[in-house]
Each structure stands twice: as structure tokens, then as C-alpha cells.
């Protein structure tokens, strides 16, 4: 076997790894690093921030984004099938059907878990909540007294 012809590719892979490692090491070595508390703070127009900048999004946003990615990507398996649907016949149809089932079951699960509800679903009636709040409040008061 001769490796000579394909050495460039191999060497390239090697170089790539070396490049990755070397740039990692070099950036650590070369970059001046004298961290001071001021330098580590996020830059905000020269004003010293007094609290962590607010970065909170509702969790729902992430969940739906993630779920969207997953379901969105699955479609790529349908394109090739759709192009050749007739040739593949019943077999392809059955396979795609089971694939769809595998997609729908999680969807049902997600819906049941309430992930797609934008607002938190109210699980208790208003009166129940009030009653629970009162009970807790009274218990705390008793504890304090004791």
C-alpha cells in the first residue's frame, strides 16, 4: 500500500489538529492577561453596573425553540421519500407511517405535559389557591408564636 498520494489529506488532518491545539496554547500564552475586577465586568458604556444585567426569558421560549428544531429537522427525511413515493410503494408508506407515529407520540406527550401552553395552565381554582395560601399563612403565624 502506498500512502504517498494521499499524504496531503492526512497531513492536512494532522495540521488541523495541530492548529487547533497550537492556537489554543498560543492564545493562552500570548494574550496578555491581567484580570482586574473592573476588566471582568461587562462593558456598559463606562457605567459601573450595579446588578447583573437582566437576561431572563421565559423558559417556555427555550422549550418551544428546542422542540421546534427537533420537529423541523425531521422533515428532511420526508423530502427524499416524497420524491420517490411511488417507487417505494407500500413499503415506503408503511415506514414513513411508523416514522410519523414516532413523531406524533412525543407530540402528544408534549401537549399533555403542557409545554405548548404559553401561559401557565391553571391547575387549581381560584378559591383553592386562596384557601391554600391562608392555610400556609396561618401555619407560619402559629410557628412564629410558638
Amino acid at each position: 500500500m502506498q500512502l504517498g498520494d494521499y499524504l496531503p489529506i492526512a497531513v492536512m488532518g494532522l495540521l488541523a489538529l495541530i492548529f487547533g491545539g497550537a492556537s489554543y496554547v498560543l492564545s493562552g500564552l500570548l494574550a496578555p492577561r491581567k484580570p482586574t475586577p473592573e476588566k471582568l465586568q461587562p462593558y456598559e458604556c463606562g457605567i459601573v453596573p450595579e446588578y447583573e444585567p437582566p437576561q431572563r426569558f421565559p423558559v417556555q421560549f427555550y422549550l418551544i425553540a428546542v422542540i421546534f428544531i427537533a420537529f423541523d429537522i425531521e422533515v428532511i427525511f420526508m423530502y427524499p421519500w416524497a420524491v420517490r413515493m411511488r417507487d417505494l410503494g407500500m413499503f415506503g408508506f408503511a415506514l414513513m407511517g411508523s416514522f410519523m407515529v414516532m413523531l406524533i407520540v412525543p407530540l402528544i406527550y408534549i401537549i399533555r405535559e403542557g409545554v405548548l401552553d404559553w401561559a401557565p395552565r391553571r391547575r387549581h381554582s381560584r378559591d383553592e389557591l386562596i384557601a391554600r395560601y391562608r392555610a400556609e399563612h396561618e401555619a407560619a403565624a402559629r410557628e412564629e408564636a410558638a
Binding site: M1, L7, A10, L14, L17, I18, G21
Partner: protein, 639 residues
């Protein structure tokens, strides 16, 4: 045939009994657990005796009976059957193990009275007996190794039986680690055998080995096996664990660390005599190790004050004789086994007597606080005296003939080194007589030096009966191997071949040798008497002063532990830069623990690389991949 077919029950009965005791736990109340265990071993003894009778009923050449129970590991062309071998050698071994074992079990019922882990003790003890029987009955090296490991584990568990006190746990661990070093050699030896012969069955190995093994290979194999034997049978350089092992209960010292387990190395060499015959070099080294051990341990024994430590060093020393005996080959094989059996009886007796003394003295083990016990403990005194005379090698007790058999074999081997060994052996015999006389006089004679609240008393019958029973073979067993009428040699002849035989008639040389040993032993006794009975304390002090630095040197066990510490342990520490906290606390007498420490430090050092950072982990993986790539490229380019 019937009885020989049932031989598999011999190890199984104690093992089943061990299982019962383990499952029952503390539900089985105190004396009952002990009796169950004792009866189990007793039953094995009866069966073993049946084997002996069955073998006697066969012609000598048909006295080897091998039976395969089932195939354990069938690995392609290589099979490991679970099979046992009843032949003259294994029969005498199982008789010793079950006989002495049963007596010691009985004794332990009395000795362990009131211990909160009474049942656990007998569980271990039964497990040990069963494992030891597996070891000697095995028909291949692998099964022998199974027993070998199991007895090691039991010994370890029993040394650390009273683990609440930390020296015991330390001693247990030391025993384990040292034995592990020996086992390593043993395993390598087995692999070498397998690689050359292609089998581990005794039959196959012994028939094929002479034709396929070169002398160099045989030497390598024997030396590896010898490393295993030095670990298990406490020989130089691995003997250091045995004296510390005395931390265990006294019945354990008697059974495991005197009569049976420690002789496994001797048995293994005798069993592999075919291999040793192939390699004169290995024989020489074996004899050298044995005889030097015998001498060194005897010297150390003189300086000890702990009653059990003296016996422990004495055991090391006697094991040295046995190793030298089986090492020299020829008549030495049978002589070594003869001494093994005789020693099994009288050393078990001595340990049990020591146990009886210790119990009588309210768990005092320092001989300086004893003295004058002969009137207080008459039975112990008489039986101890018998054991003492047997160990000294005084006519007509067992040790006289058995030790002399080894010395005679050394002398008659006829090479210069074997005769040097013979001379050293005589010196050892002299020292043996001296230190035993010292112990005898210090414990039983002179003025009482007891602590004030100690009131010595004779032990209960459960403990004295085994003493009396063991005193009988200690006295009479020598007749089995009378020079010239050596029944034991003749009995073992089918195993060791004609070479194992002895000149039939008592000729002048043999007689001279016998006389020499007797004179040497007697003079040792006289010296002991002169120093430790006749002389006053002042005279002893003067003598010690004249000897100068020798005395502390001997008392401190020749500083062997410290030397090991300096050579193995400290560099281990230095190598790894940081001193380990754990190792420090456990004292400095850790042979090989230096290596352990080195590994430990290495582990600690490497695990610093395990810094918890994902990016670092990824970098290490990448570096590993890079190494692979470079390797493949280098190979690819070079061809």
C-alpha cells in the same frame, strides 16, 4: 473404590459447614457453632482416614487416584477440570490438615469463649480448612491456585479478626500485601508452565515437562514458583508478615501460621518435584533460601520476648529447613514432607500450649512477666515440654528424626553447596535448641515474675485435651521415619519415584550424622540452660555487655523491617515527592508498601490531571487522537 469416589466430600463438608455458619450468623449460639464446625472437620478427618485405608489396600504403583468432577473452564484446546488427586502425598497432607484442624477447632471452643464474634470465627476457620483441602487435593495448578488464594484470604481475615485494635488490621494488610507479591511470582510461573507445556494438569505437566522444558526454562519456572512459596511459606525475603500475623487469635496461629497454610509452599515444591529435578540451579537457590532463612530466623528468635513471636520465628526457621529439604531433591522430598508433618504436630502443640499459658496469664504474652508456671499449669507444662523436645530434635521425639532426615539429605547430596548448607543447618539446630530452652526456662522455671493481679490457672479440659492428643504424635511420629526403616519414605515412593528412597540399611555415615545432630541439639540445650536458668540476671547482663551491639541487633529482628522500610518505602515516598498521610500513620515497617505508596502517589498525581474541566478533558482526548494519528502516519510512511 467407593471410598475414593467420595473424596470430594472431604473439602466440601467444611465448606458447607462454613456456609451454614455464615448464613446462621449470630443466631447460632456460642458453643453450638463451635461444635458444628468441629464435627464437620472431624467428619473430614474420618473420611481422610478412609482414603488412607483405601490406598493401603492397593498395590504401591496403583496408589494414585484421579477423579474429574466437572469441567470448570473449557477454553479451546485448554481445559481446566475440577478434579482431585488422591495419592500418598495428598493423603498424608489431608490427614494432617483435618486431624490437627479438628483438634484446634476443639481447642478454639474453649479459647474463644465469650468472644462476640464467636460464630464468625468458626466460619472463617471452617472456610480455611475447606480451602486448604482444595489446595492439597487439587489435580492441577489452577485449582491449587484457587485454594492458594482462598487460604490467603482466610489467613488475612483471621489475622485481622480483632480488627478493633489497629495493629491487627495493619498486620493483616501486611500479610496480604506480602503474599500478593508472592502470588504474582506464582501466577507468572503458572503462565510460563502453560506457555511451554500447554496444560496445567499435574499429570500432563509432569509427563511432558521433562521432554519440552529446557534447563533455563525450568529454572525460570521454578524460581517464579519459588517466589510464590517464599510468600506463602514465609521465607526470605518475604517472611516479614508471619511474625506480625501472631496478632490473630492463638488457634489461628497454631492452625494456619504453623501447622498447615504456611506449609503450602513446601507442599507445592514437593508436588512440582519433577520441575525442580530439571533445574539444578533452582535447587541450589531453593536450598540457599531455605537454609539462610532457617538460620536468620533462629537468630532473631533468641532475642524475642513475646511468647508467640518466638514460636513464629521458630516456624519461619523450621519452614526454612523444609524448603531446603525439598529443594535439595532426591531423598530430600520425602524428608521435607516428613518434617512438615512432624512440625505440624509439635508446632501446633507448642502454639496451643502458648495459648493455654496466655489464657492462664490473663492474656499476658510477655515472657518477662512469666516464670515458674510448671506447678501452676502441670498439663500445659508436660505437653509443652514434649513439643519443646520434639522441636529441639532430642531423641526419640518426632523432630529428631525428621530434621535429621533433611540434614542427612543435604549431606548426602554430595555437592559443596549442599554440605555447606548442612553445616549451616547444624548451626541452626544448635540455635533452635538454645532459643527453645530459653523460652522453656523463662516461662516455666525460675521465680514468678507475674503482675500482681495475675493468678495463673490450668486451662479447661476443652483446651487441655487437644494438647494431650497432640503430644502423642509429637512423641511417636518419628517412628514413621526411622532411618533404615523409613516407612514414610516408602509410602511416598510412588509419588517421588525411586529417587525418593533412602539407603535401606543404617550405615556408618547415617549413624554419624544422627549422632552429630543429637550432640548439637544437646549442646544448644545446655547453653540455653546455662544462660537462662543457671546464670543470674547480673551474669546475663555482663554477657550482654560483652556481646555489645549484637544484642539490640537481634532483639530488633536484625532491623529487617526497618531495612525494608529504608529500601522500598522511603524511596517510594521520595519518588512521589509528597509524604502520604495514611502511610505514615501505619508505621514504617511496611515491606513493599513503598511500591504501594508509589502507586498511590502516582494515582494522586495523575488524578490531579483529572481537574474537572470539560475543556481540559477535550484537550486530552484530542492529544490522544493526535498520538494515534502520528503513529499511523509514521507507520504508513515508513513502509
Amino acid at each position: 473404590m467407593q471410598i475414593l469416589d467420595s473424596a470430594w466430600l472431604i473439602p466440601v463438608i467444611p465448606l458447607v459447614s462454613a456456609g451454614v455458619l455464615a448464613l446462621a450468623g449470630r443466631r447460632l449460639k456460642e458453643p453450638i457453632a463451635g461444635w458444628v464446625a468441629t464435627v464437620a472437620v472431624g467428619a473430614s478427618f474420618v473420611l481422610s482416614f478412609g482414603q488412607l485405608i483405601a490406598l493401603v489396600g492397593r498395590p504401591p504403583e496403583a496408589r494414585t487416584f484421579v477423579r474429574t468432577l466437572y469441567e470448570w473452564i473449557p477454553a479451546g484446546g485448554f481445559r481446566v477440570p475440577v478434579s482431585y488427586r488422591i495419592d500418598p502425598l495428598s493423603v498424608v497432607m489431608i490427614l494432617l490438615i483435618t486431624g490437627v484442624g479438628a483438634l484446634i477447632h476443639l481447642y478454639a471452643i474453649g479459647y474463644m469463649k465469650g468472644d462476640r464474634d464467636f460464630t464468625r470465627f468458626f466460619f472463617y476457620l471452617n472456610l480455611f480448612v475447606g480451602s486448604m483441602l482444595v489446595l492439597v487435593l487439587a489435580d492441577n495448578y489452577l485449582l491449587l491456585f484457587v485454594g492458594w488464594e482462598l487460604v490467603g484470604a482466610c489467613s488475612y481475615l483471621l489475622i485481622g479478626f480483632w480488627y478493633q485494635s489497629s495493629p491487627n488490621a495493619t498486620a493483616a494488610k501486611k500479610a496480604f500485601v506480602v503474599n500478593r507479591v508472592g502470588d504474582f511470582g506464582f501466577v507468572v510461573g503458572l503462565m510460563l508452565i502453560f506457555s511451554v507445556v500447554g496444560s496445567l494438569d499435574y499429570g500432563a505437566v509432569f509427563s511432558i515437562a521433562p521432554s519440552v522444558m529446557t534447563a533455563a526454562m525450568a529454572t525460570a519456572v521454578c524460581l517464579c514458583l519459588l517466589v510464590g512459596a517464599t510468600g506463602k511459606s514465609a521465607q526470605i525475603p518475604l517472611y516479614v508478615w508471619l511474625p506480625d500475623a501472631m496478632a490473630g487469635p492463638t488457634p489461628v496461629s497454631a492452625l494456619i501460621h504453623a501447622a498447615t497454610m504456611v506449609t503450602a509452599g513446601v507442599y507445592m515444591i514437593a508436588r512440582s518435584f519433577v520441575l525442580w529435578d530439571l533445574s539444578p540451579t533452582a535447587q541450589g537457590i531453593t536450598v540457599a533460601i531455605g537454609i539462610i532463612t532457617a538460620l536468620v530466623a533462629a537468630v532473631i528468635a533468641i532475642g524475642q520476648f513475646n511468647i508467640k513471636k518466638v514460636l513464629a520465628y521458630s516456624t519461619v526457621s523450621q519452614l526454612g529447613y523444609m524448603i531446603a529439604g525439598v529443594g535439595v531433591g532426591g531423598a530430600g522430598y520425602a524428608a521435607g514432607i516428613f518434617h512438615l508433618l512432624a512440625h505440624g504436630f509439635f508446632k501446633a502443640l507448642l502454639f496451643l500450649c502458648a495459648g493455654s499459658v496466655i489464657v492462664g496469664m490473663h492474656h499476658e504474652e510477655d515472657m518477662r512477666k512469666m516464670g515458674g508456671l510448671r506447678t501452676k499449669m502441670p498439663i500445659t507444662f508436660i505437653t509443652y515440654t514434649i513439643g519443646f523436645l520434639a522441636l529441639d530434635g532430642i531423641f526419640p521425639f518426632a523432630g529428631y528424626f525428621s530434621k535429621d532426615g533433611i540434614l542427612a539429605a543435604l549431606f548426602e547430596h554430595g555437592t559443596w553447596w549442599s554440605q555447606v548448607a548442612w553445616a549451616l543447618g547444624l548451626v541452626g539446630a544448635f540455635l533452635t535448641a538454645t532459643y527453645m530452652a530459653r523460652q522453656w526456662f523463662m516461662v516455666f522455671f525460675g521465680k514468678p515474675r507475674w503482675d500482681e493481679d495475675v493468678h495463673p490457672h490450668e486451662s479447661p479440659w476443652l483446651m487441655t485435651v487437644p494438647l494431650i492428643v497432640l503430644a502423642i504424635p509429637s512423641t511417636l511420629f518419628g517412628t514413621a521415619g526411622l532411618p533404615g526403616f523409613n516407612q514414610l519414605h516408602r509410602w511416598l515412593e510412588p509419588v517421588f519415584g525411586v529417587a525418593g528412597g533412602e539407603p535401606e540399611l543404617l550405615n556408618a555415615t547415617t549413624f554419624a550424622l544422627l549422632l552429630t545432630s543429637l550432640v548439637v541439639a544437646g549442646s544448644g540445650l545446655v547453653v540455653g540452660w546455662a544462660i537462662w536458668y543457671r546464670a543470674t540476671a547480673d551474669q546475663r547482663a555482663t554477657l550482654a555487655g560483652r556481646l555489645g551491639g549484637v544484642v539490640p541487633f537481634v532483639r530488633n529482628k536484625l532491623y529487617v523491617d526497618e531495612a525494608y522500610a529504608a529500601t522500598f518505602e522511603r524511596p517510594g515516598y521520595r519518588l512521589t515527592a509528597v509524604l502520604g498521610d495514611e502511610m505514615d500513620q501505619r508505621g514504617i515497617d511496611w515491606l513493599v508498601m513503598g511500591t504501594g505508596a508509589a502507586f498511590k502517589r502516582a494515582g494522586a498525581w495523575f488524578s490531579k490531571g483529572q481537574n474537572g474541566l470539560i475543556r481540559a478533558y477535550a484537550a486530552v482526548m484530542g492529544a490522544g487522537a493526535l498520538v494515534f494519528v502520528v503513529y499511523v502516519l509514521a507507520r504508513g510512511v515508513s513502509r
